[in-house]
């Protein structure tokens, strides 16, 4: 019996000694990591979760403790300051602070100073020439339109001859006083050139005109078509860019951040960030999409509101702090189809690339070896030498975003996929416009009769038998792309890695051959994250890792 105990003791000593001897011999590292004092632990946690340092009372509250209480962690995670930090974390992933030009000369409002006070007018030369004749560089004169009156038949302002310029004779109307939509005070009015202040909502082109019929004054194609079209009621169809544009830009950014808030507060699943149909509008955004988005020229971003974007809430432009949630329809998919994302990454390839980086942790890298057996001059980038190494992966992913216009946020869901001829394509919008066709469609080469080439949506240009994924990906939309990555667990794994880097200020060690391999701990947190789908819980799990409490 005594002998048996002796062997058991020897055996235990051997087995216990072996791992530490092996580690010390194998690693030959000098481990000097120390636990932080509890006050510095508190400071670290506060900086990471609240973005600032604790005060003395908070330091005193943890004095003498060996580690921070769970209740304190919960308090920090529930704080508004944490919400702000999580917003910032997602902004650093998505870079979504779009600032495209939202107005152009066709409907932006400039001012001319008369007697020291501004008079608003639309500076577009085509429109000005339509109103006043001449070369289109003239504005109204400095007198009230009441003194000149209105044409009893057409209702348009009566003008006075002003002279002749290089293009011919021109005349000018006076100004009127209007309450503009961007002023909250209903009593406040501004002076506006009378032609530009016209409130007509529609114009009619007579029989015999190729575009005969009644059309909206609040549209790009009305700009140079109708003399009776001005800026509409309260100047709603026009934009003083310096006043309106900053508010819309800020609202585009806030719209995305509100979605982040909704899916990081622990009440709604985090993955809903990429799947939800919900979207929030405030006054400036709703107003922009109701009146201004459809007025942008084709050379600029196209953001026209579509049926799939859901109903626009009835908000005044001045309702800056009122946010209303509405439900969008397919093919929308969370923040991936918000204007902030689509306008920040304006090509489908750019959108796909940012998606891979932010949510799959994957980056494209050029090959380090020479590319052979490939097409040197092909327009098809999935076959072209060097290009193909990335594009063979990128193009099918980019196709998921095909139902959204490039250089714009407009949904193309309800657009015809193809037109048989260029003329038919131009008639896809009324009044017909070849520029509209060129903006959204591309000709499919036809050697037989170039004039009868069919036109297809640009995203479907390479949707042929050689690229069988493009058409189904286009039709499925970004929701299907997200679905696959949610089901595989990759989305939560990468989100966990990003959070690890954010909190630990370094990349995780995912090399399983090293002694401080962190892959298992991370995989456990990611697996749990996938189940509870709560980013706050994932943050809680990460900051409770022993490594978080140590100083290097």
């Amino acid at each position: 019996m005594k002998s048996k105990r002796h062997w058991q003791a020897l055996c235990f000593a051997l087995l216990a000694a072996a791992p530490s001897v092996a580690l010390a011999d194998e690693g030959e590292q000098c481990f000097l990591h120390r636990e932080l004092p509890v006050e510095r632990q508190l400071r670290r946690l506060s900086i990471d979760l609240r973005g600032t340092v604790p005060d003395v009372a908070e330091y005193d509250a943890v004095a003498g403790l060996s580690e921070l209480p769970d209740a304190l962690l919960d308090e920090y995670l529930a704080s508004d300051a944490f919400r702000v930090q999580i917003r910032r974390h997602h902004e650093s992933l998505l870079w979504t602070n779009p600032a495209p030009a939202l107005a152009d000369v066709g409907f932006s409002l400039s001012t001319v100073a008369y007697d020291g006070s501004p008079v608003y007018y639309v500076p577009g030369q085509g429109k000005s020439a339509l109103f006043r004749g001449g070369d289109g560089t003239h504005t109204c004169q400095n007198k009230s339109q009441e003194a000149l009156g209105y044409d009893p038949v057409t209702g348009m302002p009566i003008t006075e001859p002003m002279g002749t310029d290089a293009a011919g004779a021109w005349s000018a109307e006076g100004w009127v006083e209007v309450h503009p939509y961007w002023e909250a005070d209903p009593a406040k009015k501004v002076k506006v050139c009378a032609f530009d202040a016209q409130t007509t909502a529609t114009y009619t082109l007579p029989p015999g005109d190729p575009d005969a019929g009644t059309h909206s004054c609040d549209h790009l194609l009305a700009t140079n078509k109708a003399k009776s079209c001005g800026c509409g009621p309260e100047l709603s169809y026009c934009m003083p860019a310096g006043v309106v544009q900053p508010l819309v830009h800020a609202a585009l950014r806030e719209q995305m951040l509100r979605l982040v808030d909704e899916h990081t507060d622990g009440k709604q699943p985090y993955s809903g960030l990429l799947t939800t149909k919900r979207v929030h509008y405030n006054g400036p955004l709703a107003f922009y999409f109701k009146y201004h988005a459809q007025r942008q020229t084709f050379s600029r971003t196209q953001n026209e509101h579509q049926a799939s974007d859901g109903p626009l809430p009835d908000l005044a432009f001045t309702d800056v702090d009122t946010w209303v949630a509405v439900e969008r329809e397919a093919p929308h998919a969370g923040l991936l189809t918000l204007p902030a994302f689509l306008l920040r990454f304006q090509t489908n390839r750019g959108r796909a690339n940012r998606y891979r980086i932010a949510f799959l942790g994957q980056y494209f890298q050029p090959p380090s070896t020479k590319d052979t057996n490939c097409a040197k001059e092909s327009d098809d980038l999935t076959r072209r030498c060097v290009c193909r190494n990335c594009h063979v992966t990128l193009e099918p992913i980019a196709a998921y975003f095909g139902q959204f216009t490039e250089a714009g946020s407009m949904s193309l869901r309800d657009f015809a996929r193809e037109y048989p001829t260029r003329k038919a394509c131009a008639q896809g919008i009324a009044p017909q416009n070849a520029g509209w066709c060129d903006r959204h469609y591309v000709a499919i080469p036809d050697d037989t009769d170039p004039d009868l080439r069919p036109y297809t949506l640009k995203a479907l240009q390479y949707a042929d038998d050689e690229h069988p994924e493009i058409k189904p990906h286009f039709e499925a939309g970004p929701a299907d792309l997200v679905k696959a990555d949610l089901e595989s667990g990759r989305f939560h794994e990468v989100a966990t890695e990003h959070l690890f880097s954010y909190l630990m200020k370094r990349e995780p060690n995912l090399d399983p051959t090293t002694s401080d391999y962190e892959g298992d701990a991370l995989a456990k947190i990611a697996a749990d994250f996938r189940v509870h789908d709560d980013i706050r819980q994932a943050v809680r799990d990460l900051v409770k890792l022993p490594a978080y409490r140590r100083m290097p």
Partner: protein, 238 residues
């Protein structure tokens, strides 16, 4: 379990252990390792007790310089409010010096348009602006504290600044500001306290008292300590 079978298992375990090491130690004969008491420069110094053995701690979190947003918030939080209840911040032409309208972008705050990533390197520009911010904020703290008394003060709540402060009061206040600025609870004889005491003394000696200025010699001493702490790497690391 029979003794022979146990013997076989343990022999196997011993072989396994030996295979994991270059030279398996003989059980029971290893002498405890002693840390050297003489350093490479032949100085006799205290060596940390666990440097030669004990459990091996795992990896640690990294350390980074504060982001500009965090630095802005941290300096304002440490500075506290002025006598009117408004937060003290770095004033540059009546703007917050860390805002994008002043030096926020120059210091590297990303706007996600022209810059998308915030460098957390403490470069010369960063150090220069932090020095400017520290001097401005510390002067505001000292001036506001001069209008307050006792515990309501932010910079010297534990020590009067009318020239009557005792050594113990100065030491207590130094411990207080080290905690307030750096989140470190240090003993009265800690090297950090004694070093900061030297900064305080130099500051006091640099000003004639009474000098007719808004802040007294002692307050000037505390202003120097304030700038030192704001410029400390421990303040800028998280």
């Amino acid at each position: 379990m029979s003794a022979s079978r146990l013997t076989y298992l343990c022999a196997l375990a011993a072989l396994t252990a030996a295979a994991c090491t270059k030279e398996a130690p003989s059980v029971g004969t290893t002498e405890p390792w002693e840390a050297p008491t003489v350093a490479a420069n032949e100085d006799t110094e205290k060596v940390p007790a666990d440097i030669g053995g004990g459990d091996l701690p795992g990896p640690a979190r990294g350390v980074q310089r504060l982001r500009i947003d965090t630095l802005q918030a941290a300096m304002t939080k440490v500075a506290g409010n002025d006598v009117y209840g408004a937060p003290i911040f770095w004033r540059v032409n009546n703007r917050d010096g860390f805002s994008d309208l002043a030096f926020g972008k120059a210091l590297g705050r990303p706007d996600y348009q022209t810059s998308t990533e915030e460098s957390t390197v403490s470069n010369a520009l960063y150090l220069k602006f932090v020095g400017d911010a520290a001097r401005d904020i510390c002067m505001q703290m000292a001036k506001n504290d001069m209008k307050r008394s006792g515990a309501s003060r932010a910079l010297f709540p534990k020590a009067p600044v009318d020239g009557t402060a005792t050594d113990a009061e100065v030491t207590e206040n130094l411990q207080y500001v080290v905690l307030r600025f750096l989140g470190l609870r240090v003993a009265a004889d800690d090297a950090m306290v004694t070093n900061l005491r030297a900064v305080y003394d130099v500051g006091v000696a640099s000003v004639a008292s009474p000098n007719g200025s808004e802040i007294t010699a002692a307050a000037e001493g505390w202003r120097g300590v304030c700038v030192t702490l704001f410029e400390s790497p421990l303040f800028h690391n998280d």
